[in-house]
């Protein structure tokens, strides 16, 4: 019987070429927009590429310290994190990093490089596949050696296709010897991005800074998500200790270990600028609106098509189709349309994302189809299809055949 439904659906779709084309366009366009948007968002804001340790990480990004004169809202200092976060007992590993940017000269061209100061734990935590060389170790960090890990893209920029090991890169803070190269595509999130990575200790002033606020952040690897609450609580105890230690300078010190998602929502909290969070909300709203058009269009078209076909429903009923059979027929038709649309969208998204990646429009941009988003989008389209196509068909099929037949004469 299913074969029959598929046959009927196929015939109808072929016969109604215009409708089929418009529907397919609507479905695949909706899916394409969804997938490209998801890929961009994932690239820009995702906590981590799936499968990387960052998936079970907490972040300490911010400290709010107040006294009766002022309030400091900033990143924590190295000293603060070293003393109150590094020691977290329930964490599997704690890494302290600081972002920065630096200038370098490349064949008389000034170029700006994204810099990430890291400790040696960072490399244990992220376990990169090194293209060549290896990370700097604890000794190098303790000595504040001028060594660097660079990405494959930086290597290409500076050294072309040659090996970079043992060669030097000149940046504002000095000359650094390359000890390792990681794949540019392997960097799992914006929090771990850099064109060049150097030991956190090479910025002595920042590391020795006595204040609680500074420019560092901590990456806390939890054994798994179920430990998040315990780790957060443990850190809160440490923050209370910090408050006592700094009671002379500040009335209150607040800092929290947060998941990536909490971090994104953080800008809405008091005392902080709402910039990024607002931008994300605006972006998502725009995108939803953008997706709404093809979706509404789809629903509209589908419903009006069913009404247009009420006479067909009446005729089929008059000749012995049961409500169940009719609903199945429209269901199969919709599913086939959606699946074909999904396939088209998938191919189109592959092409678009490849073009965007190749064009280097967005730095670090590596855009991939997210299969979860793709399946979710497909399911959503199916639901749209069912709501817009099958429900009217169902209601129509419950009518007496004459009523459905008359529908065409209205």
């Amino acid at each position: 019987m299913l074969k029959n439904y598929i046959k009927i659906a196929w015939k109808v779709l072929l016969r109604r070429k215009f409708f089929t084309f418009v529907s397919l366009f609507g479905i695949s366009f909706t899916l394409l927009v969804l997938m490209v948007a998801a890929a961009v968002i994932e690239q820009q804001y995702a906590p981590a590429r799936p499968g990387t340790p960052l998936e079970r990480c907490l972040y300490i990004d911010r400290i709010i310290a107040r006294n009766d004169r002022s309030a400091y809202v900033a990143s924590p200092s190295y000293g603060f994190l070293d003393k109150y976060a590094r020691s977290l007992k329930q964490a599997e590993a704690v890494s302290i990093t600081a972002p920065g940017s630096t200038l370098s000269y490349l064949r008389n061209h000034k170029i700006e490089l994204q810099l990430l100061y890291t400790d040696h734990v960072f490399w244990d935590l992220l376990a990169f596949d090194f293209l060549e060389g290896q990370p700097y170790d604890q000794a190098a960090v303790d000595n504040a050696d001028h060594v660097a890990v660079i990405t494959s893209r930086t290597r290409r920029q500076f050294f072309g296709d040659d090996s970079a090991l043992g060669r030097y890169i000149e940046i504002s803070t000095g000359s650094f010897r390359v000890v390792g190269v990681i794949p540019h595509e392997g960097i799992p999130s914006d929090r771990t991005w850099g064109d060049i990575y150097i030991p956190v200790t090479t910025n002595r002033a920042a590391v020795e800074r006595p204040q609680v606020w500074g420019r560092h952040r901590a990456l806390i690897l939890a054994p798994d998500e179920s430990h998040y609450d315990a780790i957060k609580a443990e850190f809160q105890e440490n923050v209370i200790r910090a408050q006592q230690d700094h009671a002379a300078d500040f009335d209150s010190i607040k800092s929290e270990a947060k998941t990536y998602l909490e971090l994104l929502l953080d800008p809405f909290e008091e005392d902080t600028g709402g910039g990024i969070g607002l931008a994300i909300v605006v972006l998502i709203t725009l995108m939803l609106l953008f997706m709404l058009f093809p979706a509404i269009n789809l629903i509209n078209m589908n419903s009006s098509r069913i009404i247009e076909r009420s006479s067909e429903i009446g005729v089929r009923k008059a000749f012995g189709a049961s409500s169940k059979t009719l609903v199945m027929q429209f269901l199969v038709e919709n599913v086939i349309l959606t699946l074909i649309g999904g396939a088209i969208a998938f191919v189109a998204a592959l092409v678009v994302l490849q073009v965007v990646t190749d064009a280097h429009i967005i730095p670090f941009g590596q855009f991939h189809i997210n299969f979860r988003v793709f399946s979710a989008a497909l399911v959503i389209s199916l639901i749209f299809g069912l709501l817009s196509g099958v429900i009217p068909a169902y209601r129509m099929s419950r009518l007496h055949p004459v009523r459905a037949l008359k529908g065409s004469d209205l």
Binding site: E312, V315, A318, G320, S322, L405, D409
Partner: protein
Amino acid sequence: MIDLTHVEKVYRTSTIETLALKDINLRINPGAFLSIMGPSGSGKSTLLNIMGLLDDPTGGQVQVDGQQIANMKDDEMARLRNRRIGFVFQSYHLINDLTVVDNVEMPLLYRKSTSAERRQKALAALDKVGLSARTRHFPTQLSGGQCQRVAIARAIVGEPQIILADEPTGNLDSVMSDEILDILMNLNKNEGTTIVMVTHNQQMAEKTERIVRLCDGSQVD
């Protein structure tokens, strides 16, 4: 085989109530050829639709082969429509998205059958109505008379015991009308198919065994 007792049909809209059928009592015996006549709006189509299980009466009872329709479930009704009844509409009601032969096959989709069987039966039915040459056409490519012949082929393809035809020649000229009537009369004579036909044409009606006349929803014969 179809029994109507005290059948009544009221159409209710928000503003008016139309009593389309009043106390209709009618028995249709196997093998009969019956015509229904009456002025426009007298309830002929309503009556035929109720006989064909396309609509519910608002009062009275309909029985098919002794079974009460009122208590039937949707799929039982569907089965009866599929096996027992073939409908021919004044405005053909072919599915324009399907070819002639696919239109004719349609009723067979709703019972157990292979596609080869369906194709063969559909071609045989088209042969009976003299349309073997047009099987791959679409309804929009056919004349009115040809469309109605396709509709008849569709009505007979499942070998129903009864054919209900609502002004089957209403949109056709007299030559084509005669052809259609011939086809129906042959079906009745040669295959014993019971036929109920609504018509405005006195001459055509007189060729049938019995005429039921309706006026304002009541039987007046």
